[in-house]
């Protein structure tokens, strides 16, 4: 039964992608769309829009959704806390602060994405070091360190926006904060792909042990799980995945928090099905949300992060408050 449900979720992804390619700022007639899709090198406006703009964008949206959902699922399982978001590790706030500082002091635009990536990872390392207790990662400390460092770094972003007043630089920061896929293409995807793939492979390798971790750290250890190694592998995997998503789309909230919950409703809590389900739901959700973001106010774009928050927050509240049973007994 779980397999059937997974197959249904898998069928959602190409469907969402087709919608993502079909809709956008410029209207394309169905016939022209089909023709452009079947003949990539045919030329013409429709083919250019589809293959140069929409296909890469849909691919990026799917990657961002998959990465955030996977990172969220792994991190929630690691911390055994269902209200953990992948940004907790500080990747996003670290990247955001460095991008804000870069914009303030006028760093060359080409340097901004790698700078954001490196400082995001550096922040995650700092959070992990603060969360250490002996060789182990302490779940409570990780949450505390992540939340407090993120708060500090967000205030740097606010300060930068306030100082810059109304420059183009401040607009760049704001667009990053709002989360957007505007102007991203194959090059950006290629740059983020290695981290995403490495994070996904590392995360996937931990799945059986992660299932045992649901019984508690002590029990998992006595069942032969190398808990310390598992914790660090999960932290590295979720950090790489989040860094890839942040590099591609800026701050896209609530995907990493909500999607694992949605997927759990469909396939249950066994990570062997939950992880693939989260990846599929995350990819479909962000592709659809991005299509809406491009279409609703065309030719303007609604920031993706804002749109997802509008949809995501109420959904999450309803889900969480309805199922508000105690998580641990």
């Amino acid at each position: 039964m779980r397999l059937t449900r997974l197959l249904v979720l898998a069928a959602l992804v190409p469907l969402a992608m087709l919608i993502g390619v079909a809709f956008g700022g410029a209207a394309i007639a169905p016939g022209a769309l089909v023709h452009a899709l079947l003949h990539p090198s045919a030329g013409g406006d429709a083919a250019t829009i589809v293959w140069q703009l929409r296909v890469p964008r849909v691919a990026i949206a799917a990657t961002v959704g998959a990465c955030l959902a996977l990172a969220g699922t792994l991190l929630q399982a690691l911390l055994r806390n269902p209200i953990v978001d992948p940004y907790l590790t500080g990747v996003a706030s670290g990247a955001g602060a460095s991008i804000a500082i870069a914009a303030t002091v006028g760093v060359a635009p080409v340097l901004v994405p790698p700078l954001g990536f490196v400082s995001g990872l550096a922040t995650a390392v700092l959070v992990a070091v603060l969360a250490r207790r002996g060789p182990r990662l302490d779940a409570e400390r990780l949450v505390l360190a992540g939340v407090s460092l993120s708060a500090l770094l967000s205030s740097i972003v606010t300060l930068a926006i306030e100082r810059l007043a109304r420059g183009t630089a401040s607009e760049a920061i704001l667009s990053w904060l709002a989360g957007s896929l505007a102007g991203r293409g194959w090059n950006e995807l290629a740059a983020a792909a290695p981290e995403a793939i490495a994070g996904a492979l590392l995360g996937a390798a931990t799945i059986p042990a992660l299932n045992v971790l649901r019984l508690g750290e002590g029990r998992a250890a006595s069942l032969g799980v190398g808990v310390v190694r598992l914790q660090w592998a999960l932290l590295v995997a979720s950090t790489l995945l989040t860094a890839a998503a942040v590099a591609l789309a800026g701050l896209v909230g609530f995907v990493g928090l909500v999607v694992p919950h949605l997927a759990r409703r469909v396939v249950g809590a066994d990570l062997r099905s939950l992880v693939p389900a989260s990846v599929l739901v995350g990819a479909s959700l962000v592709v659809l949300a991005d299509a809406l973001a491009r279409t609703l106010a065309a030719p303007a774009e609604i920031p993706l992060g804002v749109l997802l928050a509008f949809v995501g927050v109420p959904t999450f509240l309803v889900l969480y408050l309805r199922g508000a049973a105690r998580a641990y007994a």
Partner: protein, 261 residues
């Protein structure tokens, strides 16, 4: 036969030496470990499981130091049952017990085999959990949950089962049922070491009792030999009369207890 041998083991927690110079050779049957709170019973059990390094001395299973065993290999041979740790409430009984098969798989073997299924079914049947197999742990009573942890130890197929206070928070009936399961485990050939608080339970269900106190082993032997007024007073600082009855030992606190030393 499995041999768990402790030689001159010192146990330290938080910079303080709890137990000094513990030497025990454990072979079969049910061994009860009793002693006052904080004496180091749980730490000793965790050291036997390889979860805690002794400050000095060696703990070996069939001649191999338990800490030197590869984690999955160790888990195939030693099961540690700690009912105190919180668990995901939404986990079903079957999912929890199936986790016992993790050490029997290599890391790339994700799917349960027919043998896993049969082992889990058998463990559920022996603990009378078959009817509850799809229930979530959060909905179980304390006694039922305790049976889940014992089913997990059975499905783990370990020859050494270490139980930390298996009867705490259980009512009389659930305690007796749990201890009967423990006896069955030992009858099946396992060495069972259980930390117990109730001396009556230790006397009734254990083949051998180890009394801990004053930083070390006070007594070690059959229940009748190990649980005497003298050893109990030395361990707990409470004067007790031990009554030998046809159906076992009974313990009566003396009417006017002296100031606890």
């Amino acid at each position: 036969m499995t041999q768990l041998v402790l030689e001159r083991v010192d146990i330290e927690r938080g910079g303080r030496t709890l137990l000094r110079d513990v030497s025990l050779a454990l072979g079969e049957g049910v061994v009860a470990v009793v002693g006052p709170n904080g004496v180091g019973k749980t730490s000793l059990l965790r050291a036997m499981a390889g979860a805690l390094a002794p400050a000095s001395g060696t703990i070996a299973l069939d001649g191999i130091a338990v800490r030197a065993l590869e984690p999955r290999e160790r888990a195939r041979r030693i099961a540690l049952v700690d009912p105190g740790e919180p668990v995901l409430a939404a986990l079903t009984v079957t999912d929890a017990v199936a986790a016992a098969r993790f050490p029997h798989h290599r890391w790339w073997e994700w799917d349960a085999t027919a043998e896993d299924g049969a082992t889990v079914d058998e463990a559920l049947a022996r603990t009378e959990l078959t009817a509850l197999r799809e229930r979530e742990l959060g909905t179980l009573s304390a006694g039922e949950r305790q049976r889940v942890w014992i089913a997990l130890a059975i499905a783990q197929r370990a020859s050494v089962v270490l139980l930390d206070e298996p009867t705490s928070h259980l009512d009389l009936r659930a305690s007796v049922e749990t201890l009967q399961l423990v006896r069955e485990l030992a009858a099946g050939g396992a060495l069972v070491v259980a930390v117990l608080h109730q001396l009556e339970e230790a006397a009734a269900f254990a083949d051998r009792v180890v009394v801990l106190g004053c930083g070390g082993v006070i007594a070690d032997g059959t229940p009748e030999a190990a649980l005497t007024s003298d050893t109990i007073e030395r361990a707990y600082g409470v004067a007790v009369t031990v009554e030998h009855r046809p159906d076992g030992l009974a313990f009566h606190r003396n009417a006017a207890p002296r100031a606890i030393s």
